[in-house]
């Protein structure tokens, strides 16, 4: 999530911002739009020509951020960068929340309306990385992972970035080459490099800056927001949807060594490992009344390694995530893979959840979310 007192709210206290979002009995919303240059400097405020819209984020999408905006001014479509923002006030505290930088697409223009309102889709500022490289690309041995990423960002015109330098000393032990193909994008290369030093995939923040940080398991992170249903602090819509979809979950796994091409044909106990969940949980053979098989090809050094690797897949498949889909009072602090606590008696004891998707209308309408239960 955005820090409550991150700029442009640095003059407010965290308590005041939280109270405005969570506690104020009556809140007024307004929205605005800034035009930025490629260095994320504000070129113009086009709020007078801004017809509102929404901002959305899907943490599992290739490009996380998208925006849907109405603009009654002709911009340099296809390259103009805009940053929507929302302001909230309860009459005492007024806070502004930047909501990311987006590259504008070519808009739909409604003819017959004066002035013409352009319906514009905005794409995450990381869009410039999401293009095919178009040639083989290599990073030499001895080059720092983070230095290699920084070079790519700068070359692609992304000059606003914040890099956690804790892995600055990590260098490639051998050259890494990405072949020429249609699927290799700059984003793939950046995330491959980050993955090698245990960093999470690159993401862009509320101001439009690229963020590169070390990966930390969601459960190990400090909760960033506490949602409950108490009379004075409830922000959850009264209608909530809970889904735990295990319909296609397997209960029989056949793991096969896929990297022993020149050896003897795999057999059970030597190259093939089969596991059947007969009785555990609601995905078991007994509970479902039938066998649902899944073949898992794995690269493994020997049969013991095959069994160990298969167990990871089996554990993941048996741990079907519970998804919560619902709306809340607008909380513009939400951002990327937010770690939350949900205290909702309808769902049992207070639970740790991970926000994976949200859509925030800029007109004060409720914000929609998709959360995954962590435990």
């Amino acid at each position: 999530m955005q820090l409550p007192t991150a700029p442009p709210r640095e003059l407010l206290t965290e308590a005041a911002v939280v109270a405005l979002i969570r506690d104020a009995p009556a809140v007024e919303f307004a929205a605005g739009l800034e035009l930025l240059d490629t260095n994320l400097n504000v070129v113009d405020d086009v709020t007078d020509d801004f017809g509102g819209g929404s901002v959305a984020r899907n943490a599992y999408a290739t490009l996380h951020g998208t925006a849907s905006l109405g603009v009654a001014r002709t911009l340099d479509w296809g390259r103009a960068i805009v940053r929507p923002y929302m302001t909230m006030t309860d009459g005492t505290t007024t806070a502004r929340f930047n909501l990311g930088a987006y590259v504008t697409s070519t808009p739909k223009r409604v003819i017959g309306e004066e002035p013409a309102m352009h319906a514009v889709a905005g794409y995450d500022i990381l869009h410039s990385l999401s293009t095919t490289v178009g040639e083989a690309y290599a990073v030499d041995a001895g080059v720092g992972y983070l230095a290699a990423v920084a070079t790519i960002l700068t070359d692609r015109g992304l000059t606003g970035y914040i890099i956690d330098q804790s892995a600055a000393a990590s260098v490639l032990p051998s050259a890494r080459v990405w072949p020429l193909d249609q699927e290799t994008t700059w984003l793939n290369i950046v995330n491959d490099l980050l993955g090698a030093i245990a960093y999470q995939g690159i993401w862009s923040d509320w101001d439009g800056r690229a963020r590169l940080h070390r990966y930390l398991s969601p459960i190990a992170r400090t909760p960033e927001w506490y949602y409950d249903v108490a009379p004075l602090t409830s922000m959850l819509d009264s209608l909530r949807t809970v889904e735990r979809d295990f319909f296609d979950a397997p209960n029989r796994w056949i793991a096969v060594r896929s990297n022993n091409i020149d050896g003897p044909a795999p057999v059970e106990g030597d190259g093939i490992f089969t596991y059947v969940n007969s009785f555990v949980g609601d995905t078991s053979v007994e509970a479902r009344g039938r066998i649902i098989s899944k073949v898992v090809p794995l690269e493994a050094a020997d049969h013991a390694a095959l069994v160990a690797a298969a167990q990871i897949t089996i554990d993941a498949d048996m741990r079907i995530p519970t998804k919560l889909t619902h709306a809340t009072f607008p909380n513009p602090l939400h951002w990327h893979f937010d770690r939350l606590v949900l205290a909702d008696p309808e769902l049992g004891p207070a639970a740790d959840v991970l926000s994976t998707q949200w859509t925030l209308p800029l007109n004060g309408a409720n914000q929609t979310h998709e959360w995954t239960l962590l435990r």
């Binding site: 009995p25 009556a26 809140v27 007024e28 919303f29 307004a30 302001t87 004066e114 409950d228 249903v229 108490a230 009379p231 004075l232 602090t233 409830s234 922000m235 959850l236 819509d237 009264s238 909530r240 009072f329 909702d344 007109n363 004060g364 409720n366």
Partner: protein, 123 residues
């Protein structure tokens, strides 16, 4: 400071200053803002308001000629300024004119609902 006392209601186009004036009746205005009170889990009632007060000034121009009626028709959707004898001034747009025939065949009453707009006034 000069004080302008108006004896009639005046409507001026903002782009060219063209004016219409007439005695008026049925004047009134109202202001509102988009908003609602929502129900959240646990029964909490919370108010949400969208910034931007909406204003409306309603008036009827009395005994205007057919030429004025036709002129006002061409002003539909144009920025106008409306001033009355009370010293009130509104900037806005009207999207229709409601024309009522007067007993004298040369004159009409014209009812207008002005939707106010935000403008930057020069100083």
């Amino acid at each position: 400071m000069a004080v302008l006392a108006l004896s009639k209601l005046w409507v001026n186009r903002m782009d060219n200053g063209q004016a219409v004036s007439a005695q008026s009746a049925g004047r009134g205005r109202n202001h509102d803002q988009a908003g609602e009170v929502r129900t959240y889990a646990g029964g909490r009632q919370r108010a949400v308001t969208i910034a931007g007060e909406r204003g409306q000034f309603t008036f009827r121009l009395l005994d205007v000629t057919l030429a004025t009626v036709e002129l006002l028709r061409t002003w539909i959707g144009a920025d106008v300024q409306v001033r009355d004898h009370r010293g009130q001034r509104f900037f806005g747009v009207f999207f229709g004119v409601n024309i009522v025939e007067y007993k004298d065949p040369s004159f009409y009453d014209v009812a207008i609902v002005l939707r106010t707009v935000t403008v930057a006034e020069g100083v």
